[in-house]
Symmetry: C2
Subunit: 389 residues, 2 copies
């Protein structure tokens, strides 16, 4: 098995930096606080227009033309519309399945958020709050969402698999990312007691999730588990025969390599990819099919400034004030890191680029030069990313 795909990030799970207009006029930094700062009418109007315009049939045609085979669709825990004040989005996912099947693409459903937070990231839905695994009733809620998703889509031709939870954070990443400071909680009392998930908890959760969804999921569909930022920690896991077609998902960003000390130079990126991504994936591929479910071309070298581990003006990091590299130089860097990374993912079972699209404006908004490399559409059009077109 080898998959070539792209994430539909920021469609059904919001990230402020990817579409700032949705957050205009509020101080909300995450999806949790958005409906709490807008009237019901305005929240609904913004969200519904966003969902109807951000990703459409047209994008599935475009993704297919790029030579992709699958899309990973982040969905929120409130997808079924049973968690006020949020508005459900199961109809949007239904449409996506129809588009995917029409144009010969497959869907990996990715549960991207959990109530009370599984990582404290903005993209986990609530900044600085990471207490989900301490709330048994919310763990059960998440299992019930997964079960309902499996029931609804389990036998769809267009289903590739279900990822039971995106990026539940563990010890090392919690410290490396310095979550409480990088993603300060808007309501400190909600964040109290936040901390990383234990690997022990995750192992137990993954087994329970597997059982709950495999009931509805034919064996040829994949159950995907995220490595919790500890790719090598899963060797003894799910070795029993009953676990079939379990895929291990690891996310690798060069900005995190930089945070781990990798120099901001092309050769250093290549060496790091070789010594870590490639080596570790090859090793873990003996245990599970390994995918890199999130990665991109973004790096500080091509940005023309140190992004301090992928921080932006939203984190108070300034960014380049003007283009420091010419177009050819940028292309050379991006093509090289694309090639090196794809070579690593090919040691495993493939990849999903993060992300297909972002609205981030590098021309009219200050501080975003270089951030267009998160956008696969732009990468393809600039010739940074090799496509079949």
């Amino acid at each position: 098995m080898k998959v070539k795909g792209v994430n539909l990030g920021n469609w059904l799970v919001l990230e402020k930096w990817m579409s700032p207009a949705l957050f205009e006029g509020t101080t909300a930094e995450d999806e949790y606080h958005l409906p709490r700062q807008l009237s019901r009418e305005v929240y609904e109007a913004r969200i519904k227009i966003h969902r109807s315009e951000y990703i459409t049939e047209r994008d599935f045609v475009s993704i297919k033309a790029m030579g992709m085979e699958a899309v990973r669709i982040p969905v929120p825990y409130f997808i079924f519309g049973d968690r006020e004040p949020f508005i459900g989005c199961i109809q949007e996912l239904d449409k996506a399945f129809n588009w995917a099947e029409k144009y010969g693409l497959e869907v990996l459903i990715d549960l991207h958020t959990a109530p009370m937070g599984q990582n404290g990231f903005d993209n986990g839905g609530i900044c600085g709050v990471c207490r989900w695994s301490q709330c048994p009733e919310e763990v059960e809620f998440v299992l019930s969402v997964l079960e309902r998703l499996a029931k609804r889509y389990g036998t769809r031709k267009g289903l590739w698999g279900i990822e039971v939870l995106n990026e539940p954070i563990t010890e090392h990443a919690w410290k490396l990312m310095d979550v409480p400071n990088r993603y300060p909680a808007a309501e400190p009392e909600m964040a109290e007691g936040s901390g990383p998930n234990s690997l022990e908890f995750l192992r137990d959760f993954y087994c329970r999730a597997y059982d709950r969804i495999r009931t509805y999921l034919p064996e040829e569909k994949y159950v995907v588990i995220h490595d919790g930022f500890e790719l090598l920690a899963w060797k003894d896991f799910m070795r029993e025969e009953k676990y079939v077609n379990v895929v291990l998902d690891t996310h690798q960003y060069l900005m995190m390599a930089e945070a781990e000390g990798c120099a901001q130079e092309l050769d250093a990126y290549r060496d790091y990819i070789e010594a870590h991504y490639k080596k570790d994936i090859r090793e873990m591929q003996q245990y599970f099919p390994v995918i890199c479910g999130e990665w991109c071309l973004f790096n500080s070298l091509a940005c023309g400034c140190d992004t301090k581990g992928g921080q932006s003006v939203l984190n108070g990091v300034e960014g380049s004030s003007g283009e420091r590299l010419d177009a050819e130089e940028k292309k050379r860097i991006y093509r090289a890191v694309a090639e090196a990374q794809m070579d690593a993912w090919n040691q495993g079972s493939g990849y999903f680029y993060w992300s297909y699209k972002l609205l981030t404006d590098t021309v009219n908004d200050k501080g975003w030069i270089g951030w267009d490399s998160w956008d696969l559409g732009r990468c393809a059009d600039f010739g940074w990313f090799p496509t079949e077109r």
Copy 2:
């Protein structure tokens, strides 16, 4: 001069069929009635998210990658925000200029609507109402908008030209389109007295508009006039030396050829294009540089049903209930009509495709099979439209 471009339709001037979600929960069929059926807050939220998501920096990158050189941007008469309850959009046009200049594209500003209507089409802003030319104060208002646009953008590197008014309708087209029945007025009393514009009025208006904007527009920028659906009527017009770089814009759609009696067969389309588009453009090119400012691949043959001159479920015409042609057959038809039409536009000074993007869903909404051919992005990705990629 030869231009190869695409329209950014439905971004700053709305058309319901191109983004139905904006009109959800209302009975509005046009932009005039939308803010009159929504609360101010909801109208503003919908419009602002639409404008911030529908066309972005990303699209300029994509258009450039397709090999296009220019974009025609339809703008409404209320662009400067001085016509309540509408919300202005001059900031969006400012952004578009910055994107265009960054990526080496040029902008044709196209004033697409006039108060009280210049054609009675939905895309003219108000269905069934065509009285603008009878209201001298509104004619003056339109001239003042053109003047302000010329003042603001006249010396911008990214400006290709200004089109003084889109599709002011005249006698023959008014009858052929059967405007009052095809686009029934929501408030019949507003439509009272509606009728086609006279060529005499248009000639006078174009001369006044030329004088008003040329003051601010360096001579190398184009002033574009629409032919009022009478391509051959402009031979004696603006022959005086003072008129410099005036471009004549004609819009040619195969659906209108069908309405004029052209059979719904490939050879008939080719013959019609040869006998009318090509011949007439060649003739008029002696007087003005002629562009085809709107055209597309859409035709009844490829739809698999008679669209009765491009009518849809919105007009009560059913459309195909399923795909009647296979992918290869569709591609053959579309590539052939693309080639024949581009050959005709090359007799003149080039073209702008209508349109770059539409959200029309051919999979989840009934009746829209075949309407994806209005969408240049999809046409390129399907291989229907030849691009440089």
